[in-house]
Amino acid sequence: MNRRTRAGLALLAALFLLAFAGPLLSPWGWDDTDFAAFRAPPSAEHWFGTTQSGHDVFALTLRGMRRSLLIGLLVAVLSTGLAALVGTVAGFCGGWPDRALTFGVDLLLVLPSFLVVAVLSPVLPGGWPMLVLLLAGFMWMVTARMVRAMTISLKEREYVLAARFLGVSAPRVIARHILPHLASLLAVDAALNVSVAILAESGLSYFGFGVRPPDTSLGTVVADARGSTTAYPWLFGFAAGLLVLIVLAVNLLGDGLRDALDPATRRTMP
């Protein structure tokens, strides 16, 4: 594990700890209202200050962060999993399944995903889990094409041929001989997808399409501060800062993983 991976991992762990253990440190809950402090700047009492309606920004931001991290992780796992499934099946089977799946992938790629999610997410029921499905549904295609291409080349390897000629079934060959060779690619892809998903979710939520009140995400926290960004910077500054930190940590981790797993980019060790 190189230095960047370690830094990314440490930062990400710290952020998770903050999101989930942070509320224990503060006496304020996200729905508590402090009638003595409206739009109060950060202080010993309210670490991140308070909102217009007297809510504690620290508690709100952490709640939004929990939601954003959860959405990011779920979207990454789902989209990478879907990409692995579709890519290996299309690449391994060839013929009409390949043609059908590739056509589907190409079709999804030309749709303006941000617009489609923005239009669909308010009208579909299901709250934030539906948003996860929508985001995941539009993020897997490029990886799937990559996985398909790699599967096609792996399929002709002699040890894969040997397994097929032994009578090993296709799902088993994929699971035992193909997926392990794609594992590094998929791990990197999933890591980078986390940050893409969190950014997409925040963007959508900011415009009011993704996570909607009363639910909170980092995007809604920033959105609530709309119009008062210069006068009351604490309303959005902490949320935006944490967002940047999350994306930074995940990207560091993803890049580090890629360097560690891909021999082509491996530098000579000192």
């Binding site: 040890y159 040997a162 000629f165 032994l166 090993v168």
Partner: protein, 701 residues
């Protein structure tokens, strides 16, 4: 531009008369050369030699012997991280320690090179003529036009047909043999003093190898350059080199004049290497297996040496004279190697219980009129079919219980495609495949899976055929679990399999990358045998192995066959290996079987001219016979598989066709010959209108 038309044989200089009297002064002189990659990885350890003008030095060694490091060090092409010590002198000028810029002025001018892979040595985006011309302009400062004209001249010299046209083409348009000719043309462009050729013919088919060696011979005579020919093939050295140096574990263990070293090798390694070669003439002596790794202290060959003495462990023996004309060997016990036939014990013959005659044994595999065409498409948006690569174009063969059928031919002849088509156990495009009496086109999925137990495969490359992420035990377990062997029985069966193929129990916990090539191939064989099949399809199972390891694997296959009554379909391009292991042989050319029959009949009296040409092209590891033989290399390249010629497909390259009169030729041009019983052959059929059992050259006295 497409593939060049068939080439007439290059203008040969029949007798290898040296053009120049060999001067006493050596041209290229290497002394006490050491190459160290990482600390402790010593690729070359104190090698020295000298080559004179017009002389050819053959450097022979197996993988890991340091022969390529030697070549790169000579050329100054080692990576930065490698450390080189010693001396490399070209006509007295020291080359080691010079800057890359200074070396570049020497390389390509006085010191030229030919590599194994000509495609990666040529720039894909420049015209061939320009690339040769560039070499001339850089070093000789000729004008563009003059250099271009000289390039075409050089291409004619190396036997490229339509040189002026080819000069405007690009490297990918040429066949491997033609590219290697271009490399040789570039090498001799500036009248070099010395040429270093590193495995120049290893990637080529035997018939093309013969052509390229002939060109190299012409090049040597045209320039009078000294040649250092680095190869693993003792046959190539026998025919081409004047002196030979045998390398083992980074040292020159024996060197001397070719005739002397081949006739009286004195270092046990050289003796073993010679004896581990399978013989094309099926001589009485069997190939000798000689496996093992070099020792790190003392004589590196000691662990594999049959005449090892206590003194061998004390230090590396220095080279000492053992014969006339500078024949030296680095061996303590040269007294024991006086009689080379006594050094190694004769390998025990494989005991075979007598088999019933062929017609009484049941067929295990029958292939009738099998066709496999790969369609070719062109166009980006709309893909149109523009014909097909006729990989397999109607072949019929049968394998009976307990016998081996060798399937031989040059690359691209369709032998591997045929094998894969059989292994698929699917419905062929045309024709019929019957395995153990069951037509593969009529199989249900369950029957097909059950049938796979009886039919298994061993692949060529032991580095690619084992999953690098699985331990040996897991690799051997996979077939067992797939076919529902009870869990409790599996560990025992894995141990049994390891023992069966001559591996140790502790190998089970290793990963493939921790095993040697020979050991990996044994694991591949063990995996194939796990389900006790009755028919093994072997795709070049020994081609990727060193000769000394080849013999061991071949012997294992023979033993297994004798013990378990296996039938083999053995795909190979090495005719000598097939001679040793096969009962019958089928020769493929251009998707067809052109000759099939018992090994003895086909090798002793090949009826098809192509079989004859293939047999003649195999270099023979005996310098005297190799030099006596009249060379008539088969002209041209293997044909374009998507456009077979009308009539007989071999006609454009056929030496027999050239000697026919007009009326006889019409038959060849118009009618595609079918397999017919060859004259005089018991079990021998050939697809030729004018078959005749010819004696191959090595049978003639």
């Amino acid at each position: 531009m497409t593939v060049p038309e068939p080439v007439p044989p290059p203008v040969l200089h029949p007798a290898a008369e040296p053009v120049l009297e060999p001067a006493a002064e050596p041209v290229l002189e290497i002394a006490d050369l050491h190459v160290t990659y990482a600390p402790g990885v010593r690729a070359v350890r104190g090698v020295g030699f000298a080559v004179r003008r017009g002389e050819v030095l053959g450097v022979v060694g197996e993988s890991g012997s340091g022969k390529t490091a030697l070549a790169l060090a000579t050329l100054g092409l080692l990576p930065e991280s490698a450390r080189v010590r010693g001396s490399v002198r070209l006509r007295g000028r020291e080359l080691l320690g010079r800057s890359d810029a200074e070396l570049s002025r020497v390389r390509g001018k006085d010191l030229a090179m030919v590599f194994q892979d000509p495609l990666s040595a040529l720039t894909p985006v420049h015209q061939i003529g320009d690339q040769i011309a560039e070499t001339i302009r850089v070093h000789a400062g000729a004008t563009r036009g003059a250099a271009r004209a000289r390039a075409v001249e050089l291409m004619e010299l190396v036997g490229i047909p339509g040189a002026a046209r080819v000069a405007r083409g690009y490297p990918h348009e040429l066949s491997g043999g033609m590219r290697q000719r271009v490399m040789i043309a570039m090498a001799i462009a500036n009248d070099p003093l010395a040429i270093v050729a590193d495995e120049p013919t290893t990637a080529l088919d035997v018939t093309v190898q013969e052509q390229v060696l002939e060109v190299l011979r012409v090049a040597k005579e045209a320039t009078g350059a000294a040649i250092v020919l680095i190869t693993h093939d003792l046959g190539v050295v026998a025919g081409f080199a004047d002196r030979v140096m045998v390398m083992y574990a980074g040292r020159a263990v024996e060197s001397g004049p070719v005739g002397e070293v081949y006739r009286r090798p004195r270092m046990p390694y050289t003796i073993g290497l010679m004896r581990s070669l399978p013989r094309l003439d099926g001589g009485a002596a069997r190939a000798l297996p000689m496996e093992g790794a070099p020792a790190t202290t003392g004589c590196p060959f000691a662990p594999r040496c049959p005449v090892v003495l206590p003194a061998c462990a004390r230090g590396e023996p220095p080279p000492a004279p053992v014969g006339p004309a500078g024949h030296v060997a680095a061996c303590v016990n040269t007294a024991a190697t006086e009689r080379q036939d006594r050094v190694f014990p004769d390998p025990e013959p494989v005991l075979r219980s007598p088999r019933p005659p062929r017609h009484e044994r049941p067929p295990v595999l029958e292939v009738t009129g099998l066709v496999k065409h790969h369609p070719r498409y062109r166009g980006t948006l709309y893909k149109r079919r523009v014909g097909a690569v006729r990989a397999v174009d109607g072949i019929s063969l049968d394998v009976r219980a307990g016998e081996t059928l060798g399937l031989v031919g040059e690359s691209g002849c369709g032998k591997t495609s045929a094998l894969m088509e059989i292994l698929r156990l699917g419905t062929p495009q045309q024709g019929r495949i019957t395995v153990f009496g069951q037509d593969t086109a009529a199989l249900t999925a369950a029957r097909r899976k059950a049938l796979r137990r009886d039919l298994q495969v061993v692949f060529q490359d032991p580095f690619a055929s084992l999953d690098p992420r699985m331990r040996v035990a897991a690799i051997l377990t996979e077939p067992l679990t797939t076919h529902g062997v009870r869990k409790a029985l599996i560990p025992g069966r894995v141990q049994e399999l390891l023992k069966l193929v001559g591996l140790e129990p502790e190998h089970a916990s290793r990963y493939p990358q921790d095993l040697s090539g020979g050991q990996r191939q044994r694991v591949g064989i063990a995996r194939a045998l796990a389900l006790e099949p009755r028919l093994l399809l072997l795709d070049e199972p020994v081609a990727a192995l060193d000769v000394s390891v080849q013999a061991g694997v071949t012997e294992l296959l023979e033993e297994l066959q004798a013990r378990m009554g296996l039938a083999y379909l053995f795909v190979a391009h090495d005719l000598a290996v097939v001679r040793q292991i096969a009962d019958r042989v089928a020769v493929m050319y251009h998707g067809r079987i052109v000759e099939i029959g018992s090994v003895d009949a086909v090798y002793e009296a090949p009826a098809h001219p192509y079989t004859r040409a293939l047999l003649d092209a195999v270099p023979y590891p005996d310098p005297e016979r190799e030099r006596r033989r009249r060379r008539t290399p088969l002209a041209g390249d293997p044909p374009d598989p998507s456009a077979p010629p009308e009539g007989c497909r071999f006609r454009p390259r056929c030496p027999r066709h050239a000697g026919l009169d007009g009326e006889q030729r019409r038959l060849c041009a118009e009618i595609d010959p079918v397999l017919r019983a060859a004259p005089g052959g018991q079990d021998q059929r050939a697809a030729c209108h004018y078959p005749q059992g010819e004696t191959p050259w090595w049978k003639s006295p």
